[in-house]
Symmetry: none
Subunit: 197 residues, 4 copies
């Protein structure tokens, strides 16, 4: 029919342009939390609600669901890349950062699962891209004799395996299980921590 006459009632403040950056940040934070808790399938409205903004704001900043996920996970992946690029980076240290993100965010695990599996709902194309970036960052620092350097696929299969092991309600428990997984693989891992500097 026609349009939306907007009920004219009271309109809860327009904090103006300054709020834009704040809102984007709030959205990113909210998305990170919501994704961590519910995974990549979480409703976008939940993210907007937790960020304390209207749905339209979310769509202004991110054109679609993929954009939100990419923005969040891009930061996670970026940390791993920076960890790899850092001076004196070794594979154990980078795996420590990787493991940190695995224990933090369900969504991050989802993309590592994604691996080559496009097509299944909830594991969309952008996940492969991000997964690929993680692989490159790791492989660049994988020494020749390393346990995971034998076969082509071993590296990412191992990462997926650890992702599979990371479950549990608390971060501590997830970290415990992640470390157990690496140990079962016979792979040494550095301190589990973010690389935010």
């Amino acid at each position: 029919m026609t349009q939306q006459p907007t009920s004219d009632e009271r309109r809860p403040a327009n904090e103006g342009r300054k709020a834009a950056d704040r809102n984007r940040a709030a959205l990113v934070t909210a998305a990170r939390e919501v994704y961590a808790e519910y995974g990549l399938d979480a409703p976008l409205s939940a993210i907007a609600r937790r960020a304390g903004v209207g749905q339209g704001v979310l769509y202004r900043h991110f054109p679609d669901r993929a954009a939100v996920a990419t923005a969040i996970l891009d930061e996670n992946v970026g940390q791993i890349e920076r960890a790899a690029a850092a001076q004196g980076a070794d594979i154990a240290g980078i795996l420590g950062v990787l493991t940190w993100h695995q224990t933090q965010s369900t969504a991050f695990i989802d993309i590592l699962h994604a691996d080559g599996a496009a097509g299944r709902s909830g594991i969309p194309a952008y996940a492969s891209t991000l997964s690929g970036r993680v692989e490159r960052a790791l492989r660049a620092h994988l020494p020749d004799g390393h346990r995971l350097a034998a076969a082509e696929d071993d590296l990412m299969i191992a990462v997926a395996m650890v992702s599979g092991a990371v479950t549990g309600p608390t971060r501590e428990q997830r970290e415990h299980r992640a470390l157990a997984a690496w140990r079962l693989l016979g792979v040494e891992v550095g301190p589990v921590r973010p690389f935010d500097r």
Copy 2:
């Protein structure tokens, strides 16, 4: 009013009973197919449709979504238990049957992931129960010196790890990855096959 002069005696709704069993079986089969194809989030209506029954029938047999999943997976778990109970069962053989189900059904992987993780959508409490049964079946045949017998958790963490590795569009690819995962763990696995009889 309309008398039905059947064979000799009036069979008291025995027909209904038999139809009920038939429906239940059809639902289980349908659910297995639908879950394998779409995952645990598949609409229940799709299951009823594929089973060729009304939705009400589904609800008669299974009070809620969890009950459907449980019933399906119960059959999977049952096979593993029977494999374990079979004469001459060894851990490698049982793991082969387990691996078969991992490569067959996305849903089955979900419950093994579930482990202790309640709260995440689609991985509710009942999964723990099933997961526990798998664990008992395996542990009963785990020899003392086995690679996974060292620490309490190692067995199921390893299973979860393999589940994490199992991705890909074709069953062949999933089997390939599963075997690669077991190899990385240094665990020997028997032939990957169902235990249907």
Copy 3:
């Protein structure tokens, strides 16, 4: 995330299977009214609301917007076809029935406007189909010497012209204008009436 737990509150009656036909009829009636009033772009929710049913019912009976429109307009077009097939049908009489529907429903006018114009939003493909049926029904009874038999396009251009003239708040006014339009075209029209028998 998960599903819709449905608030459990009170559920406003389920009138059972018998209501199905009644509801479909109510939907068709409602759609006819809403379309007549607002045209083909009317919100589907308005139709469901006027029919007194939930939105889901509408989607059960009609898979998409096109199906609703087709169902409604199919009946209109069908009347014209039946008028053409009736014993002793002549072009003036058929045009009278056509004109009746033009004065009744904005949506019907929309499809005649549609003519060959697919692509524009709100004038979708099915409109062309319906428009084509109207054309065939009319042309079959168009005598050789008829005013609109000269050029290929003249017939449907004339129909579109009359559609263009049919505006106004009351049906009476619309009929008045329709007749004026036919008169300006020098085309004789029979009684303006439905052909419901």
Copy 4:
């Protein structure tokens, strides 16, 4: 604080004024294009975007959706009025200009349809006003014996009829149909062209 030693005197926001006019013109042009392409229901944001201004500017110049449409169409109607006022204007020539606008702009057709028809979405009251101006411009040059001079309403009904006939994806096709329509009405039309100067 920061003094601006411009040319000689301080021009009091004359710059702002000029920019405002420029913006208004840009909006009118943009709206014309957008309306021609998407029809009267096009989002206002699209118009602002194409004009290269913020949405606020649009609302400054035009209080509501109707005002935008009016402004655009006002220019079209103005051309017809100027054509009518031009030296040596005759009804055929004026109809040629009218027809030009009918073939150019979907929106323009809408207002001629509108005629007396308020209530339908997108064809609000202001359309009547514009339609009335077109009528006056035409009627002033309608000779007594003209085909459309017989009955009071005939003139605008004929215009609406031609509007109804004007459909099709290309301007050429629309012009072809418009001319066919006038021919069916037995009305002579001058060259189909704008009257821009």
